[in-house]
């Protein structure tokens, strides 16, 4: 299969989009519910998770033989434990992707295609993603280079068009409810940032890993800035009522009106959402496919595309019956779940691998 290789910059762009795609739309509501008027601080504080994850991922990458995380697991924990760990990790990622995909479908069905079955919307998206995944990471990266700037530009345009309606004093008073609510919101934002872990699987395909450190930190900063812009725009427009809406940025875009004819620009948000989720889903899809291929040493990973796609399609519906169940999961256990899988688990792996290596090298020295 033509896996192709990408540059650090291309990976940075993809990373930028996979974090932002769902967060810009969903986050303002959740962080307003949790942090109230201080919701705009949460991306800044939450970005710490992003920086930490990048650091951790790079460390892990250097530890791994040939940059393969699965090989590191096997090398550290032995064949059976290592393989079952990697299977668990992949199932975890499938679960996260199922939630993401379902969220995507729910948004479209709630706001635009009220009568279209959600299966069709999700199925069509997965079909497209399967095509890209089959094309390999290079195709995905080049698609990203074309479309991600457009997505970002459209998001910014919406924020700029809302500018005259904004009321900056909405964010006062600061620290109204103390520090604890801000921390709660920050953890949720961390749940988005920690998805950076996924690049662990892509790094072996990057031509210039050495410069990725710089790009990685830069991307996290860029993501923070975009989140901040989106959060501030929405909050200064709608105040605490932001928490009422499922998709505040969408509601905000509907509020844009100029000169009685420049109205109804909410379709732009839909475009941003569909394109953004396309990158997120295909990135996850690719990682899952690659993970399975490495775990079971499949020689032709391309044959996995269709089975994985079917698995993803069905798991989006296994996962929850309705919007309420997903919402409940995301706002209760979801954040801790995703942080455990994406940060704590790799961190423990890193610690154990380091300790083992130290002991190993110590023994080697003793022998000599």
């Amino acid at each position: 299969m033509v896996q192709g290789r990408i540059s650090a910059f291309q990976l940075a762009i993809l990373m930028f989009q996979i974090i932002l795609s769902s967060s810009v739309l969903l986050m303002p509501s959740i962080s307003t519910t949790l942090s109230g008027k201080d919701m705009w601080m949460t991306p800044i504080l939450g970005s710490v998770t992003g920086y930490l994850t990048i650091w951790l991922v790079l460390k892990l990458h250097h530890l791994s033989p040939n940059g393969s995380f699965i090989k590191l697991l096997v090398g550290t924990f032995g064949k059976w434990i290592g393989l079952s760990m990697s299977v668990a990790f992949i199932i975890f990622q499938i679960h996260i992707l199922a939630i993401t995909t379902r969220d995507y479908g729910e948004f479209i069905v709630t706001n635009f295609y009220l009568k279209t079955p959600i299966q069709v919307i999700i199925g069509a998206m997965l079909l497209l993603c399967a095509w890209v995944v089959k094309g390999g990471i290079e195709v995905m990266a080049r698609t990203g280079q074309i479309f991600i700037p457009i997505i970002t530009f459209c998001t910014l345009i919406i924020c700029i068009l809302l500018f005259p309606e904004l009321n900056p004093s909405e964010i006062l008073p600061m620290f109204e409810r103390g520090v604890q609510p801000i921390m709660k919101g920050t953890i949720v934002v961390g749940g988005w940032f920690c998805q950076v872990t996924l690049i662990l699987f892509i790094l072996p395909l990057v031509k210039d890993v050495k410069v990725f450190r710089k790009w990685g930190y830069l991307t996290v900063t860029a993501i923070t800035v975009m989140m901040l812009i989106a959060n501030l725009t929405v909050f200064m427009l709608m105040g605490e009522s932001t928490a009422f809406f499922n998709y505040p940025l969408f509601t905000a875009s509907r509020y844009i009106a100029y000169a009685e004819f420049f109205e109804h620009v909410e379709a732009v948000v839909m475009m941003v959402w569909v394109l953004g989720e396309f990158f997120k889903i295909s990135f996850y899809y690719f990682v899952i496919q690659k993970g399975i291929a490495e775990t079971f040493t499949v020689t032709k990973p391309a044959i996995l595309v269709v089975p994985v796609g079917l698995l993803l399609f069905t798991s989006t519906f296994w996962l929850a019956r309705d919007f309420r169940m997903i919402g409940e999961f995301i706002s209760n256990a979801g954040t801790l779940y995703i942080i455990t899988g994406n940060v704590i688990f790799p961190f423990l792996v890193y610690c154990i691998a380091r300790i083992k290596r130290k002991i190993g090298s110590g023994q080697a020295q003793n022998k000599a």
């Binding site: 279209t116 006062l172 109204e176 427009l237 709608m238 009422f244 509020y255």
Partner: protein, 406 residues
């Protein structure tokens, strides 16, 4: 190898093309323009204890065609380009369902800019209706909200003389200095952010007063009669146009073109100033003794519009007197409004609470549960200044010129 590969890819292509046939049935959510009934305004009334009546002003698409064909002869008959249809139900959504039964086309809310609540409905509370309005996906947050004395349905279907329909007339008027726009977003925001769900929306004259026979607009009656005040999402009172004027000053809603006319004693002469811009700032203050004070700072500019007094605009000393006179007028109207709000209606319609909350979050937390009690005790300080930098085209009054000729 190569051959089997090309056969396989051909098979895949065949499969894909078969799948794409499924898509030819079209989109599930296809809506044709000639299948929808576009709502331009909606009215909500209370008909009995638990029955709500939803009236919709619906655009008639054929009308414009017919008019161009008949060369405008139809417009004289007073037939508007919209019609009003209403239905009752136990809730707004049920009423909408019943309303839909009567129409051959699907109701479309995407262009609705106006919600009018009848006085009775407003007094009962509008939170149930707001839940439907905000939840229903096609609604627009920018739609303006009004309350009408009497029934809302009478406001719909008025035939204005200048605009194509009454909803257009209402939203245009709201943009001018005589009223203000309050849209759904603002209402929801105030409901969430104020401790007792306090907000104001423009209050309309009863439809029966506005129209004569066959719904033609009476030219001599204004649409607006002030602002209605809601507390706990129920309408608890209203301010007449004079008090509303003060309300606009306090809440920084006063717009350019507003005219301040002062009757100057002894002979009831007039000084009139047309505003070019205005800015009101509320500066809250809590004294160590626990007194809540609100300082209302108004900085306005306006041009001389009429001056029938003896005061000379060009004379520095007398100019100051002029400024004093006009500022005084504004201050009095603010005072009147505040007296009404603090002593009679006893509701913080001017959003002082928010200012205090921003500056004194701790003290605010203690009083917010019964803020309206504290609001009545808030003392006021004023710093009103209406500067008049330009005299208009004349530099003297006619009387002064005559005096100079002597």
């Amino acid at each position: 190898m190569n051959r089997s590969r090309s056969i396989r890819s051909r098979l895949i292509l065949c499969g894909l093309s078969v799948i794409s046939v499924l898509q030819l049935t079209g989109c599930w959510d296809r809506v044709e323009v000639n299948d929808i009934a576009i709502i331009v305004g909606a009215g909500i009334d209370q008909v009995s204890a638990n029955q709500v009546k939803l009236s919709a002003e619906i655009y008639i698409p054929e009308e414009s065609n017919a008019e161009t064909q008949s060369g405008g002869s139809k417009s004289a008959s007073g037939n508007g380009k919209t019609f009003v249809s209403s239905a009752s139900g136990s809730s707004m959504s049920e009423a909408m369902y019943k309303l839909q039964e009567r129409l051959s086309r699907k109701l479309y809310w995407g262009h609705n800019d106006i919600f009018v609540f009848g006085q009775k409905r407003a007094a009962q509370g509008i939170d149930d209706d707001l839940d439907f309005i905000m939840r229903y996906v096609r609604m627009r947050e920018r739609a303006n909200v009004y309350v009408a004395e009497g029934r809302a349905v009478d406001i719909l279907g008025i035939n204005p003389r200048l605009e194509p329909n009454s909803m257009e007339a209402l939203s245009e008027l709201s943009k001018t200095e005589i009223s203000t726009t309050v849209d759904l977003k603002q209402v929801i925001e105030r409901i969430v952010e104020t401790p007792e769900e306090t907000f104001c929306v423009p209050y309309l004259n009863p439809g029966s007063l506005l129209t004569g026979e066959s719904h033609i607009r009476k030219p001599n009656v204004s649409y607006f009669q002030g602002m209605s005040i809601f507390n706990k999402t129920k309408m608890v009172g209203w301010m007449n146009n004079d008090l509303t004027w003060g309300y606009f000053w306090i809440t920084n809603r006063i717009k350019a073109n507003t005219i301040i006319a002062v009757g100057h004693h002894p002979h009831n002469e007039t000084v009139a100033v047309q505003l070019t811009n205005s800015k009101t700032k509320l500066v809250p203050h809590i004294t160590p003794g626990g007194k809540w004070i609100m300082k209302i700072i108004v900085r306005s500019q306006g041009n001389m519009m009429q001056n029938t007094t003896e005061i000379d605009f060009m004379n520095p000393k007398e100019h100051a007197e002029l400024v004093e006179l006009v500022s005084e007028e504004v201050q009095i109207s603010i005072k009147n409004t505040m007296r009404e709000l603090q002593k009679k209606i006893k509701v913080d319609a001017v959003d002082f609470g928010n200012s205090f909350r921003k500056k004194y979050p701790k003290q605010w937390n203690n009083v917010k549960t019964n803020w309206n009690e504290t609001f009545q005790q808030v003392q006021l300080e004023f710093d009103v200044q209406v500067s008049i930098p330009r005299p208009g085209v004349l530099n003297q009054t006619i009387r002064q010129m005559k005096g100079g000729n002597h």
